[in-house]
């Protein structure tokens, strides 16, 4: 799973593809804001700050390509959300796509949910490779024929045509969130999904757009008493009555929808005890959970806070079972990270298909992977410098003090504008997608 220093059977990651513009001047709209594989891994969707969705499809594996797996090519792209202005509140509504979640495939078409701050849309992506020819009322150019001049009838015939991939919005779920949507999650019943904003979580039925159920509401009667907000939420992968949500105070609540209609009271409360003597001004801010993800097995969940990733056993509430340090060297830089707002960056995390490894991003276009079994970790970089086809990625190392070895980078040289917030792992294979600002990198394991 992890790249080793030597050869042998050590696992190694290779560059596969990079998408996006090369130029230094990054347009705000091109910044990738979400990345998600579908259930089979055949499709990879990205959303950006400009409200656009781009879907890549993996090409069929041919016998000629022995040294690499199929590449991802553009399959469909569309404008999902537009910028809006709320005149009543005098507020701009950004078109930025916060999250994309795929629905499991049930027929030839593909469905996904995309959400900006206020509205969720269900998109249908379908293929058209035939067209009808020989209409009675229209001629070849599409002009209407005079019905009185038609003397014979014919049956239209289906003719093949160049593949066209169409995206159409099938449902628009709007006006249910006063605050900014941070998460959407499709339920295992394939009928409902939840959407979460800073203070509330709503449950929707995929067919019904004019109402949703509010299942969590943490808004205090007096906003002066506000102490924490919801930062992420997810449905359990198998139990359709269970979901979790994380908070800005570093806690996770598991709720059971069978227990009550309004799940303000949690069934389980996960919090790691803190040493009160080590508490500082930054403690609460860096404990804020930016992402929560169930393992595929449904037995564990993983949370990401500013400096670490924690794996929790759902059966144990009082502490995580595993803690991985992502970039502990930043602890001595918190003052400047607070000043430049980087301390509020929201990193995501993801599991591999077998739940044996986890991945998350860092700064300087570094991303980190942890093997849960061997406890080995690795730091890799998404950079166009290592972008020769099938080039093996070299492990990177940050020097925390003292003598800097060759090939190491010192903490002060890290580029904090190059942040990897969004990563995704193929559900079955060792293929990963890493979003580095406006570029999308695809890496895969080395095939021998």
């Amino acid at each position: 799973m992890m790249a080793g220093a030597g050869g042998g059977n050590d696992f190694q990651w290779c560059f596969s593809q990079v998408k996006g513009a090369v130029d230094e001047d990054v347009a705000e709209a091109d910044i990738i804001s979400t990345v998600e594989f579908n259930y089979s891994g055949e499709l990879l969707a990205t959303g950006d700050k400009g409200g656009r969705v781009v879907i890549f499809q993996r090409e069929q594996e041919s016998k000629n390509r022995l040294l690499s797996r199929g590449e991802y090519n553009v399959y469909s792209t569309f404008q999902s959300h537009e910028p809006e202005f709320d005149y009543l509140k005098s507020l701009e509504i950004e078109e930025k796509i916060n999250k994309i979640r795929w629905l499991p495939q049930q027929n030839a078409a593909h469905f996904l949910l995309s959400a900006n701050d206020k509205t969720i849309k269900l998109w249908k992506i379908s293929e058209r490779d035939k067209r009808a020819d020989g209409y009675n009322l229209k001629d070849e150019d599409g002009r209407l024929r005079d019905p009185f001049r038609i003397t014979t009838l014919r049956v239209p015939v289906l003719m093949p045509m160049d593949l066209m991939v169409e995206a159409s919005p099938r449902r628009i779920f709007a006006n249910a969130h006063t605050y900014h949507i941070n998460s959407i999650s499709v339920n295992s019943d394939y009928e409902t999904y939840l959407s979460a904003d800073d203070l509330r979580i709503n449950l929707w039925h995929l067919e019904i757009t004019d109402r949703s159920f509010n299942i969590v509401d943490i808004k205090p009667a007096n906003m002066e008493e506000l102490t924490e907000v919801i930062t992420a939420a997810e449905c359990h992968p198998h139990q359709c009555n269970v979901f979790v949500y994380s908070s800005s105070k570093g806690t996770i609540r598991l709720c059971d929808m069978r227990a009550a209609a309004l799940c303000d009271r949690h069934s389980k409360f996960f919090e790691e005890p803190e040493d009160p003597s080590s508490r500082s001004f930054f403690s609460e801010i860096i404990s804020s959970i930016s992402d929560v993800k169930f393992s595929h097995s449904g037995r564990y969940m993983m949370t990401r806070d500013y400096l670490s990733v924690k794996v929790w056993d759902l059966n144990m509430e009082n502490r995580p079972v595993e803690t991985y340090q992502v970039h502990e060297y930043l602890r001595s830089k918190l003052c400047s990270l607070y000043e430049n707002d980087c301390i509020f960056d929201k990193f995501e995390c993801c599991w591999n298909g077998s739940d044996s490894a986890i991945m998350t991003g860092s700064y300087n276009n570094f991303f980190r992977m942890f093997d849960r079994n061997t406890r080995r970790d690795i730091t890799l970089e998404a950079s166009r410098e290592n972008s020769k086809p099938r080039a093996i990625l070299k492990p990177r190392k940050v020097c925390t003090g003292g003598k800097r070895k060759k090939d190491e980078i010192s903490v002060d040289s890290l580029d904090f504008n190059k942040k990897i917030l969004h990563t995704a792992w193929h559900p079955k294979e060792n293929v990963i997608a890493v979003a580095a600002t406006n570029n999308l990198y695809i890496f895969q394991d080395k095939m021998n």
Binding site: K19, G20, A21, A29, D30, I32, T46, D48, G50, G51, R52, V54, V74, T77, Q79, E82, P83, F85, D86, Y87, L88, S90, L91, E92, I93, E94, E95, D117, Y179, H180, D198, L199, M223, E224, E225, L226, T227, E228, V229, S248, K249, S278, S280, F281, F282, S283, E284, I285, R331, S332, K333, L334, C335, Y338, E339, N438, L440
Partner: protein, 111 residues
């Protein structure tokens, strides 16, 4: 360090803390730069700022409607005249607000 230096017990504790925790050292640095920083960092001020992520654009519907009522008898200014910069006297209208540039360009990932 010379014993002549008079340090309060609080400063002594902070000095000890810098040895113990890099996080506390950073806190000291921050408080030195921003002495008026609130004592409850994770409290409602920070959270409320977070909740109001959207940019506040100047538009007051009350002012707008009052101005519209006043101008009812006068001729409404043509669209061309409104292209000048918005000054303090001018009541902005929804049309005046700088249009958000819409993404008519395709994503560069789709090239």
């Amino acid at each position: 360090m010379s014993g002549e230096v008079e340090a309060s017990t609080e400063e002594q504790q902070e000095m000890q803390d810098t040895v113990v925790s890099p996080e506390k050292a950073e806190e000291v640095k921050l408080k030195a730069r921003y002495p008026h920083l609130g004592t409850r960092p994770g409290g409602s001020d920070l959270l409320r700022k977070r909740l109001q992520k959207g940019q506040q654009k100047y538009f007051d519907s009350g002012d707008y409607n009052m101005a519209k009522a006043k101008m009812k008898n006068k001729q409404l200014p043509t669209a061309a005249a409104e292209k000048t910069e918005i000054t303090g006297d001018h009541i902005p209208t929804p049309q005046d607000l700088p249009q958000r540039k819409q993404s008519l360009v395709a994503s560069k990932l789709a090239v």
